[in-house]
Amino acid sequence: MEALLAITIGILVATSVYLMLARNVLRFIFGLVLISNAANLTIFVSGRLTAGAPPLIPVGADGPVGVVANALPQALVLTAIVIGFGLFAFALVLMFRAYTTLGTLYSEDMRVAEPRTEDTK
């Protein structure tokens, strides 16, 4: 399954890169969501996969009984998900603000910081 997941991650990355290259920055946001998922899956699969055994310690035991899933990547992914959400939220608001102040979502038209008359006189 790990291999299959690797392929999935590849597909996720490809689609998100394609989205991020779009002219409309809103698509970049969509790409961002996808690629964050890809990154999280990468960490998750790097810790290898275990089906049907969450890393919980049953009452009465001192440690998990039997083989359980690798807990560390789960913690990292959880962290990454939340951070990713923070980044996403900010980016979304930024694009939103961009549209309301610059009047466009098209990156070609966003030329305020680096105007076309950038050439030295």
Binding site: I35, A39, V45, L102, M110
Partner: protein, 499 residues
């Protein structure tokens, strides 16, 4: 011991919380100043500790490395923390006047101090994922600071800054995942210890290159620096000062750390690539500056070009070169932050940072002229200012290493740097003001004058001190370089004697 390391990390966040919750009453800004003063003290304490113990480490939560998160400081980390604290203090004083109540109410001080916290965390952590977290802290607070004020060009620049940095962040995160996948650990020293046991060494190099790109974006090297010149000229001056001083340097620091401690197996490949990156970064950056006509844009492109020098030091990988990189790192933070602060004063007095729209400062604001002259000509590498020694050590290292081309590039770029600095000098200071104004500092209120000029003067004096009395700094840099090139001490301190 553990708190010597933890305090500088904790303080900025404490400051941020207090400053934010008290923002309504004007107390917040003073919390910021006081907090950063204390931070400086803590940082100096840390440096002192490091100076007599070489490397110190602390296990957070009392969980032994590599299981918990380790904070660790060697010479490089310690000095970076100190210089960060100095910059933070200077900027927080400058901000007393530069940042208006509106921005304060929106949480400027929280954003700023948490940014500092992130920077310090990045310098002190010994754990790769933790480094990622601090990078995020830094990154997203910089997002906030960058767009605070919401001017059109801020939004535009912000978009470029955010998008490109997010890409690097994702790359970094994935890289960590992969590295964990082959080593099963996150502690950098532990990774360094277990990497040689990986049998697919080619894969290690591939992952190393991923990190190089990820940190390359943060450090703004060629061809990944687009976000920097697109955004650094847009925010408030105190913000661009702290950005210019610190942010890219964290990227450089990360590159140095990773490519001395962790990825030192395939130097023939990685560091050759780094050398090319360094050369192209220097050249493209300085030419970019030559094409600009706005003080902040010129300075921004120069950041890029000078990052190239630091990378050059890392790439050459000799003791002298590494020392040069460290020295350059420290010198550049002081000088560059100061130049942006000065640009702020120039705008307040002459009305703009566009060289076509200002002038006359030499005649009517001699004090400002002097304050600009020192860092500007230091940046241009004129002796006996700090920049000369930085340039000298690197060029000397390159020549000793018979790396003729890079040495030539470094010198040529130095010449073009002179060109840009004198351009600012001639246009903003020498040239009469196009509107016939005679801009002088009396337009500032005495209070404003204090807040704005005190930090500038302080940083300028540092530049002079480093320039006229370089010995201790050079010696320190060489010691730091020695530690970097032989990380065994670092590793044993982090992992215990068994490493």
């Amino acid at each position: 011991m553990t708190w010597t390391l933890a305090t500088p990390l904790v303080l900025p966040f404490l400051t941020a919380v207090l400053a934010f919750l008290t923002r309504a009453s004007g107390v917040g800004r003073w919390f910021s100043v006081a907090g950063n003063a204390v931070l400086l003290a803590a940082a100096v304490l840390l440096l002192a500790r490091v100076l007599n113990q070489q490397v110190i480490a602390a296990q957070m939560g009392n969980w032994a490395a590599p299981f918990g998160i380790t904070l660790v400081a060697d010479y490089l980390s310690a000095v970076m923390v100190v210089i960060t604290a100095i910059t933070a203090l200077a900027v927080s004083v400058y901000a007393l006047t530069d940042i208006d109540n509106r921005k304060e109410h929106l949480g400027y001080h929280a954003l700023f101090n948490i940014l500092i916290g992130g920077v310090i965390g990045a310098f002190l952590t010994g754990d790769l994922f933790n480094l990622y977290v601090w990078f995020e802290v830094m990154l997203i607070s910089s997002f906030g600071l960058l767009v605070l004020g919401g001017k059109k060009e801020q939004i535009d620049g912000g978009i470029k800054y955010v998008t490109l940095n997010l890409i690097s962040t994702i790359l970094f995160l994935s890289g960590i995942g992969l590295l964990y996948g082959i080593t099963g650990t996150l502690n950098m020293a532990d990774i360094a210890r277990s990497l040689p046991e990986v049998e697919n060494q080619g894969l290690v190099t591939v992952i190393a290159m991923m990190f190089m790109v990820a940190f390359g974006v943060k450090a703004a090297v060629f061809p990944l620096f687009f976000w920097l010149p697109a955004s650094y000229h847009t925010p408030a001056f105190s913000v661009s000062a702290v950005f210019a001083g610190l942010l890219t340097k964290v990227g450089v620091y990360a590159l140095i750390r990773m490519f001395t401690l962790v990825f030192d197996a395939d130097i023939g490949f990685t560091h050759t690539v780094l050398l090319w990156i360094a050369a192209l970064t220097m050249i493209t950056g300085v030419l970019g500056a030559a094409a600009q006509n706005d003080i902040r844009k010129i300075l921004s492109f120069h950041i890029v070009s000078q990052i190239g020098y630091m990378i050059m030091g890392l790439a050459l990988f000799t003791p002298l070169a590494m020392a040069g990189a460290v020295f350059y790192l420290v010198h550049h933070i002081v000088v560059k932050a100061n130049l942006f602060l000065i640009a702020g004063v120039a705008e307040r007095t002459a009305g703009s940072t566009d060289l076509n729209r200002i002038g006359g400062l030499y005649k009517s604001a001699p004090l400002l002229a002097i304050l600009f002259f020192v860092p500007a000509f230091s940046l241009a590498g004129f002796p006996p200012l700090s920049g000369f020694w930085a340039k000298y050590v690197l060029v000397a290292a390159a020549l000793e290493d018979s790396a003729w081309i890079i040495a030539a590039v470094a010198l040529l770029v130095g010449l073009l740097t002179i060109f840009s600095m004198t351009k600012i000098w001639a246009e903003a200071f020498w040239k009469p003001h196009p509107d016939g104004l005679e801009p002088d500092l009396t337009t500032l209120s005495p209070k404003a004058k204090r807040h704005l000029l005190l930090p500038i003067a302080g940083l300028a004096i540092m530049t002079l001190v480093i320039g006229f009395y370089p010995e201790p700094f050079v010696a320190f840099a060489e010691a730091a370089a020695a530690q970097l090139l032989d990380p065994t001490d670092y590793m044993t301190t982090v992992l215990g004697e068994d490493a």
